[in-house]
């Protein structure tokens, strides 16, 4: 039990001392995951709407594929991205291996299926309610996409959180394509893996506590946002 106490004390000291390397690591984790989340949303939500409102052969197969990709092991994603962006791989000319960009790419692969699958489900429900209305008033498709996205804001926040959670918490993919290079590609989870392998378990756990703490804050903010959106909708 000592190790838990020591971890809490270490976590606390790191935070109140404003530990520079800690903030660098947390900042990088944040930037990478937020960037991949934004890119995934820009790509994923329109695909979600498309899959929800159109009917074509193979549609349900595509949905099933995205659903199963949600469970893709991060280490496999890491391996695939590594083979793609390795200097000897097809995207080697990008020269992004062992940089944050490769990590963004890996996280993009990880969370895109989540964004697509979950948003498809939400838009399918919405589409049932709205489709007659859109037909009667002959709303153009572009406009209807925007309406779907803006009318499901509170559900989309949940999807954001799920995507962000997966991105920020995984280690298998980013350690392969990032290389855990100090000051360049070292993020929260790879630091925890490193400190564990050095046998410094209290420090590793302290970092884990900080990661949990950050995710708690994000969820609190998201919750407030959801409450605000719901109020605006019903008042």
């Amino acid at each position: 039990m000592e190790v838990f106490l020591e971890a809490f004390i270490t976590a606390f000291t790191l935070i109140i001392n404003f530990d520079v390397s800690l903030f660098e690591i947390v900042g990088l984790s944040f930037k990478i995951s937020v960037t991949s989340l934004l890119i995934a949303s820009i790509i994923g939500f329109p695909i979600g709407v498309f899959l929800a409102i159109t009917r074509f052969t193979g549609r349900s197969l595509i949905i099933t594929v995205f659903n199963s990709l949600m469970g893709m092991p991060p280490v496999v994603v890491g391996l695939i991205v590594y083979l793609l962006v390795s200097r000897s791989g097809p995207l080697g000319w990008l020269e992004i291996l062992y940089t944050p960009y490769a990590m963004i790419l890996a996280q993009l692969f990880l969370i895109l299926p989540i964004i697509i699958s979950l948003s498809t489900q939400i838009f399918v429900e919405l589409h049932k309610e709205y489709k007659d209305f859109f037909v009667i008033f002959s709303v153009p498709p572009r406009k209807s996409v925007i309406t779907y996205i803006s009318d499901s804001k509170d559900s989309l926040i949940t999807i954001f959180l799920a995507g962000f959670g997966r991105a920020v918490s995984e280690v298998g993919a980013v350690i392969i394509v990032g290389g855990n290079i100090d000051h360049v590609t070292r993020v929260m989870t790879t630091t925890i893996a490193l400190e564990t392998s050095k046998g410094d378990l209290p420090l590793a756990l302290a970092l884990g506590i900080i990661l949990l703490f950050i995710s708690l804050i994000i969820n609190l903010i998201a919750n407030r946002l959801k409450i605000k959106i719901n109020k605006e909708t019903y008042e």
């Binding site: 990088l28 930037k31 990478i32 960037t35 390795s86 200097r87 000897s88 791989g89 080697g92 990008l94 020269e95 992004i96 291996l97 062992y98 940089t99 944050p100 960009y101 963004i104 290389g179 855990n180 290079i181 100090d182 000051h183 360049v184 490193l194 564990t196 392998s197 050095k198 046998g199 410094d200 378990l201």
Partner: protein, 270 residues
């Protein structure tokens, strides 16, 4: 067209992530033993101050480091498995192999030493005692330099270790630190390089039980990745770095690195 868009996106991303990715950094593939011991955190700033060259280190097992370098994902390789290093050069992947520094391997085990290996006269005898007792031995099992060394030692002791895998001989498939964590939890024997052991913080009941045998010698080699095979390699700066490491000054700097008053690496460039 794609390349043009790529530049715009990169420009935007560069503002968010101002890490020097187009700069002339050196990419070094190396082993966990050198990195976890703090060796690079000590030596790289000294080198950077003199030359302004930044070195980025990826620390993986020797087997994976060599594989990554074969894929051109390295400018320089510092690992510890001589025959593999020589094969790497012979296959045209590297320019030349240089001796850089050495230390030694140690056999770690529970303080009570159930197999009584601390009294052994040779590594073979120590391993045979563990084998006869069938006491837990944790192996890296990851094709790293340490793992290769360990297999060679079992071979020397005329024990076919694969017969016991999953019984008292347990292969973790992980790095040295993770393997030591498991050994300390199971109170088992294991082979470690001395640098990782000295800097390892979760020792619990483990200690060094057998060492100082010539067979436990641990040589680190350095190889420049061949620019003819990998045209994108940063050969100029890596050469500056390697020459410095092999120079009198670099070797002296290696010698001065100590943890808890103990010297971790002994320079031996020729």
């Amino acid at each position: 067209m794609i390349k043009n868009n790529y530049k715009t996106v990169m420009l935007i991303l560069m503002l968010i992530f101002p890490s020097n990715i187009f700069g002339k950094d050196i990419l070094l593939q190396s082993t966990t033993s050198t990195k976890n011991s703090g060796f690079y955190t000590y030596i790289l700033p000294i080198f950077k101050e003199q030359t302004g060259i930044n070195v980025k280190v990826v620390a993986v097992g020797t087997g994976q480091a060599i594989k990554n370098a074969e894929n051109c994902d390295a400018d320089l390789l510092i690992v510890h498995a001589k025959s593999d290093e020589e094969a790497f050069v012979a296959n045209g992947n590297g320019i030349k192999r240089h001796n850089l520094m050495y230390n030694d391997f140690v056999i770690i085990g529970p303080r009570v030493d159930p197999a009584n290996i601390s009294k052994s006269k040779s590594t073979e005898e120590a391993l045979n005692s563990i084998f006869e007792l069938g006491y837990n031995f944790i192996s890296r099992g990851d094709n790293s330099g340490t793992h290769k060394k360990e297999k060679k030692l079992w071979n020397n002791a005329k024990i076919d270790i694969s017969d016991y895998s999953g019984k008292w001989y347990k292969e973790t498939g992980s790095g040295m630190g993770t393997t030591l964590n498991i050994a300390s939890e199971l109170n088992a024997y294991t082979l470690s390089d001395r640098a990782t052991w000295i800097t390892f913080k979760n020792k619990k009941n483990l200690e060094v039980l057998f060492h100082n045998d010539k067979k436990l010698f641990n040589q680190y080699g350095a190889i420049l990745v061949n620019p003819q095979k990998c045209p994108n390699t940063n050969i100029e700066d890596s050469k500056v770095f390697l020459d410095w490491l092999l120079s009198k000054e670099g070797q002296n700097t290696i010698k001065k690195y100590k943890v808890n008053g103990v010297q971790l690496f002994y320079p031996n460039a020729n």
